[in-house]
Amino acid sequence: MLKISSSSLISIANKLLIIFLIAKGLSLVALWYLPNDGVELNLQKNYQPLYQRVDFKNMLINQDKTSQQSTIKIQDTSMSNMILKGLYGTKTKGFIIIAMKSNSKKTSIIGIGELYQGFKLIKIKPKSAVFIKDSKKYILELKKIKKGSIITKIKPKVLKEKLTKPILISKTEIANYVANPTQMWKEISISEVKNGKKLKGFKVNSIVKNSRFATLGLKKGDIIIKANNIALKSYNDVMSIYNNISKLKILQIVLLRENKEKELIYEID
């Protein structure tokens, strides 16, 4: 019968136990110094509305005059139902007090950028408020009459927007550049621009003369900051555009040129 109390066996068991405890102790020390959490990617979702381009000019040309008038009339009517009771603020900050004529006692306070009956308040002037709806601007004025009361006067002032003329690009051209990106980088050189640690956009360092990129309206020194309303603040933002480029019909980019924003529109056919 094996003697459990054999001194050599106990000695081996003791040594193994000590080794075991040392190993456990070392692992606990390592556990103390090592991080408890890994690194997960936190992609900040871009909550900007997707870029949509509507050519109102063409839409209006295709319609006959009668329909144009009726459309405007409907919009005027909805605006004419409003009373501007008061305003406070500067061009870009402030609020107005507005009500519907049908229930003039029920007033609403609207800040710049907020919607009221589908009209977006964009500016406050000394005696009027400027709204926008469907790319058309409307001015709702405060007007004092003899007795000192206030009435409103509507000026359906449609301001002509300076639309950037789209530059045409064929889908085949894009497909060729996607299949052969080295060709693209031969024609244009782009580098990231950072504001501290944060990505600000992508700078056009050079464009080869007489190349396709030279005809796209870009200039050396331009900093591309947005594409289809998506601020390019990470490579992921760029990839979200790049991965869907074959599905796009319009590509809008906003760039900084001489510290001024400029918009370029590309029509992909």
């Binding site: 040594k15 193994l16 080794i19 075991f20 040392i22 190993a23 456990k24 070392l26 692992s27 390592a30 556990l31 090592l34 991080p35 408890n36 959490d37 890994g38 690194v39 997960e40 990617l41 992609l43 996607v178 299949a179 052969n180 990106p181 080295t182 990470s234 490579y235 992921n236 990839m239 790049y242 991965n243």
Partner: protein, 177 residues
């Protein structure tokens, strides 16, 4: 004397096995993730499991500069101190790379051992063919020799043109970090 040496080695093996078993492998993996972060490499959405003597990572997505660059079905990390091996299976590269290289990689092995502690040996197979590489820790240089597949030879000629061709038909890629 021989008996004493034998007993010493038995104790040593027992100690190493205990260390490997108790080593907080998941936390060690997190440490590696933190080390990779400054290089803009993030492994995300993975399931990490300590298997006792090795670490298993499943369904990992690899992001480089916030761009999803690869998806790896299974990574097996075996750290035996004197022999360390990382095995990655079923790797699908992001579609943005398909213009340079086939996106499917079947297997990658990275091996480091005490016999050659300054070099990590890399073996890879996939749609691109076969590759063998050495990463030198001191020089921070990577040398890869590629034996291209037929797909690589026919569809990715431009990529191969960017590599140095040797006399035996292999292509060499050298990168210093």
């Amino acid at each position: 004397m021989v008996k004493k040496i034998l007993i010493f080695f038995i104790y040593l093996i027992f100690f190493i096995t205990s260390i490997i078993y108790f080593m907080p492998k998941v936390n060690l993996y997190y440490f590696l993730e933190h080390k990779l972060k400054p290089s803009s490499v993030i492994i995300s959405m993975e399931e990490v499991e300590d298997k006792g003597l090795n670490l298993e990572i499943q369904n990992a997505k690899v992001f480089f500069k916030s761009i999803e660059s690869a998806e790896i079905s299974k990574i097996n990390l075996s750290i035996f101190l004197i022999f360390n091996k990382l095995n990655a299976k079923n790797i699908t590269l992001s579609s943005i790379t398909k213009s340079f290289i086939p996106t499917k990689i079947d297997n990658i092995d990275v091996v480091m051992s005490v016999l050659n502690p300054l070099n990590a040996h890399i073996y890879a197979t996939g749609e691109f063919g076969k590759a063998y590489g050495v990463y030198n820790i001191i020089d921070k240089s990577l040398k890869v020799k590629l034996t291209p597949s037929n797909i690589m030879k026919t569809k990715y000629k431009k990529t191969l043109m960017g590599l140095k061709k040797s006399e035996n038909g292999e292509y060499e890629y050298v990168k210093n970090f």
